[in-house]
Symmetry: C2
Subunit: 356 residues, 2 copies
């Protein structure tokens, strides 16, 4: 039976990517050696890294003057690297608090300097994106989280700011068009739309770096990694390779514009059913709903066990909600086909019929 | 043709590990999903992490009171984490300078406090391990590098010290018996004897942590990762899984004692030929030679092109020396079979016969 993989991350990847990754784990490009047992400085792996970087630049239309890096440590290490590299000695930063990851980012920034939370949706368990806030004009940068995996909210627009604009796009990068030129720094853990766990994408405007007056530890300094083209130390070979394959798959099929269309279809189908079916309700303000993670509850909790058995029987996997929200979360990342959303919607309608 | 893979790292892994890693990249344990598209909190991956940790403890006979972590960022990030976690505010550290990686470790420690280099082999391009040095009694810890991949030296014993003993074992961990109880902290990038690039093993005595008086950034604090059992953030799933498989392979075949015997045979064969064959000479003091990386030169450089063609024709890969040393480096990590060393020795003897 086919599994419909709604995992919130690490998450579904295209079948052809999995097959190619497996083949290259046995032997890469007929070189007689596995991808994972060659030097990262071999011409074969350098070509992988170069291609991965070129695909990021092409798919996101990254302008001149930006560097693309593949690092380690996930968004969680970026929470520290961002203030280290961008907050001036004695400087300030402003953050938008939209969920768990934003809170973690704020915590690290506070270690390095004055950090203002310009707005928060903590008052309603992060079920909306704050709006109408003011970003102080004297901050070095403003930081936001474009998509909140746990709570199912997504920023549909980004504010204007006098300082630098920094965004954690871990869970919606490559899912829709984004104007990179409006951002000074974008980062994203790979394990949603880009690849497997184990590498972090950073897109950074070169001219903003080296201006804080701080001494930055070597591995936390973006300039270290820019100078060495993400090979200052041994890079995470397999995660970068699989990211490259996933981006190739995206490009071959039509790129970000193509997947955005499909993601909008999936979200429309999913939220359409949540709103139509009297047995379910969404947890998030409608205008802030994420196209990646749809959070919803049963209106009658006594149906929980029955519903759980039904979706499990239909081959649906990974839709249990995060413990901070409860209920259900259908993560609909790039590689999830529309038919998987349809399979879930079918089960929701079956439940409705049974209790009509 | 079989490739004899002498790569210095990432390096050769057992064939059966590569096959199982490939199979699980398609589907893990008949669950209908790939290893790399399931949640790191799924019971399947939690079992992988638990097993990897248990295998480290068993194979190295890790005593009670130590934690085993799988992190990211390689030894290069450990260079920063070690002083952050172990050097007291206003404290001191002592380092042994035996090569490039030791120098990089010293650089990061100096950012955090008074760092003494107790001895260095820089005077002879790191071709020996300094001995007879004194470790100041007032340092928080002493740091050394057990094996120097680039220069081909290896510590055959470790000094006594009043403070904590910390060792970077990136390139010889699991290659020979080591008494973990003598160390307070051991770390190692996976990509030599343990697995593919992308995860870092840390073995740390719990009682030494939390005593510096420093505020440690969340991701750099070992206690963060101990509390969350290496799942504070999304771990590098594939590198940890393949490390688990490699450790299983090691255990099944007889463990560290078994591989130590084979590694000694390989080293004896290799260095025997280097010493016997008048066309070659070793670069390292005999008593400090590494069983992992044998560095050697042609005595007559005009034979270089001929020798290079001969070993390439014999299916030998990855023996070019590091640019800091020149010549050749045969890396003989755990998964390299004795027959590969024999293949290289055969080529060396063939060259000798041609020029007899």
């Amino acid at each position: 039976m086919k599994v419909h993989n709604f995992s919130a991350g690490p998450c579904i990847l295209p079948q052809e990517v999995l097959k190619q990754a497996a083949a290259s784990t046995i032997e890469l490009d007929n070189i007689g050696l596995s991808l994972i047992e060659i030097s990262h400085r071999s011409k074969e792996f350098v070509a992988v890294m170069d291609k991965a970087i070129a695909l990021v630049k092409e798919l996101l239309e990254v302008p001149e003057g930006y560097s693309v890096l593949f690092l380690q440590g996930g968004a969680s290490l970026e929470f520290l690297m961002v203030p280290y590299n961008l907050m001036k000695e004695g400087g300030k930063a402003a953050y938008l608090e939209t969920g768990t990851w934003a809170k973690n980012a704020i915590k690290e920034a506070k270690l390095l300097g004055e950090t203002t939370v310009v707005a928060s949706s903590a008052d309603k368990n992060f079920n909306y994106i704050p709006k109408g806030y003011t970003i102080p004009s004297d901050v070095d940068y403003f930081h936001c989280t474009s998509n909140n995996t746990i709570f199912g909210t997504q920023m549909k627009s980004f504010p204007e700011t006098d300082g630098m604009l920094v965004c954690d796009m871990s869970s919606d990068i490559f899912s829709k068009k984004v104007d990179v030129s409006k951002f000074d720094l974008i980062y994203a853990g790979a394990q949603k739309n880009m690849g497997p766990a184990g590498t972090t994408l950073v897109i950074v405007k070169d001219e903003i770096l080296g201006k804080t007056g701080r001494t930055i530890p070597t591995m936390l300094d973006y300039q270290t990694h820019i100078k060495k083209e993400s090979m200052f130390n041994t890079p995470p070979v397999f995660p970068i390779y699989v990211s490259m394959l996933t981006l190739e798959w995206l490009k071959k099929n039509g790129g970000v514009e193509w997947i955005q269309g499909i993601n909008e279809q999936k979200a429309a189908l999913m939220y359409g059913e949540i709103d139509r079916n009297p047995l379910f309700k969404g947890t998030v303000e409608v205008e802030d709903r994420s196209n990646m993670n749809a959070c919803f509850l049963l209106t009658d909790e006594s149906l929980e066990e029955e519903f759980n058995q039904m979706w499990a029987a239909a081959g649906i996997s990974g839709i249990k909600g995060h413990r901070s929200v409860g209920g259900y979360r259908a993560s609909m990342y790039n590689a999830l086909p529309l038919e998987s959303v349809q399979a879930l919607v079918d089960v929701m309608q079956e439940l409705e019929k049974k209790h009509a």
